[in-house]
Amino acid sequence: MKASQDLKHHVDPFSWDATVARGLEPRLLADLPPAGAFRTLAEHRITHPKPPRIQKKGDPRIITEIERAGLTGRGGADFPTAAKWKAVTAGDRRPVVVVNGAEGEPAAGKDALLMARLPHLVIDGALFAAAAVGADRVFICVGEHSPPAVAGIKQALAERRTLEKDPGVRIEARIVPDRYVAGESSALVHWINSGNAVPTATPPRTSERGVGKRPTIVQNAETLVHAALILARGAEWYRSVGTSEEPGTRLVSITGAVPNPVVCEVEAGSWLLDIFEQSGGDPTKVSGVLVGGYYGTWIHPRDAFETQLTNESMRPHGASPGCGILRFQPAGTCGVSAVAELAEWFAGESVGNCGPCVFGLQAIANALRALESCTNTKAMLERVQRLTAEIPGRGGCKLPDGAAQMVASGLEVFADEVQAHRAGRCTARARRSAPVETPIQRPVEIPFDVPIKTLVSSNGHPTMHLADSSSSSSPSSSSQDGCRVCPYCAEEIRSAAIKCRYCGEWLER
């Protein structure tokens, strides 16, 4: 499972299958149009009532209904929605509603899917929120990485302007830069205000001082869709599924060891095992489950498959359903490598605000890469453990905390793999028909006609390189200077090589 695969699906909401858990009546995904299509306003209004016209004073009855339903935020924090809405009504300035559809998590697909296929439901939710608190401006923020989601929202807003009366509020679509922290609420507000998507110091919270210094609700797109449905059908209807503490349904984004990535609507409190099996996965072929996304926690499959999708059930494992991502690491792949790759992604996502994040995340990623290539493992493991303990709580936003949590839990879940790497081998590689057990290599330009030797590259990453000068070259692919093309990555390598120095694949001779 590679991060590049996540990023591919991240861009295209139509590459996800949309399903509903067995036995559950679809709610959010009811009458979902096929991939590539979107539900028009006329189709939408058959089943969904129009939100009320927005009054300056707001409508506390709406907040009461949301409170009775017990809706919580689906962006990851699970904060009670009614409390958030109440907080902005305290001041005397008119609030602003910001729909957070930035969805920076590469392994998530739910918000883009909603905005691309059911944009009117998202807009209705935002209008209900605006009506509840008396907001006069709504910003719908869509991640720029997902053109279908941007198109869906823009098309839906254009339709509304021509077909429906003015709801008494100014709605604007905004295209958010593709950057993980842009989806953090203070960063999103700062970006609307100044065009710079970096988190700002809290307090003040966005609910006190947000867009244009006005109290601001920043709410995840899925949460607003739930709100729209609650106000159309009632709190009792919402509470009729799920658990008493965590009622309703959730959208989960399932990737990894499944045939195709799936956005699945499930009841809160569903078993992870059921969710995974219904998505076409084989529970015996999983080596770890990343719950809650990159900004989440690894759980060992033996625990994960006995866990329900609730905060209560996941708390003992240090996890929470978060934004509903379940990323299943296929068995037989290197867990250390997976954790290192995600750590590297985190390091690249640091916006450069805070020193501990800028230097710390890169240092963690480098140390994990060294561990992956089985070099200086004892010191590197200690370094990772020390840094993951030092970093949390020392950033303007929670990005470093999330990275540290992901890495620390990953090293626990893949403890066997880590031990193997400490002993100088990678179990995933060994299983894959390799002639001898060797560590994974990082491609570095080095002289490579040494038979087997450990070298240290210019950037300080120790690396190991293998070449067999005595072997005969393959006649079909060799050229005049003894080079050929790697069949796996198409880089030019020596025809005598038994292992590609770029991609690390073993070659046939």
Partner: protein, 87 residues
Amino acid sequence: MSERRRRTSSHEDRRLVVDFIACEGHGMCRDILPDNFRLDEWGYPIVTNEVVFSEVLSDAKRAVRLCPELALRLEEIKERRREPAIT
């Protein structure tokens, strides 16, 4: 840590808070309050003991004043945080 400092907290006590967005790792806070801070390998502070007792409050106020980035501040300790963890 002296016996006098290990006593129960008073309402005069404050909590040290670092604004890491502003912090540039000058290390002034550690120089002034070595009991409360240590530095990581890049010179950014790690708060080892966030509670400042009223007896040493003047030192802490000096550290707040002298931080070149104005990234250090003292906050009142809320009721629930009254039991300081002394490291």
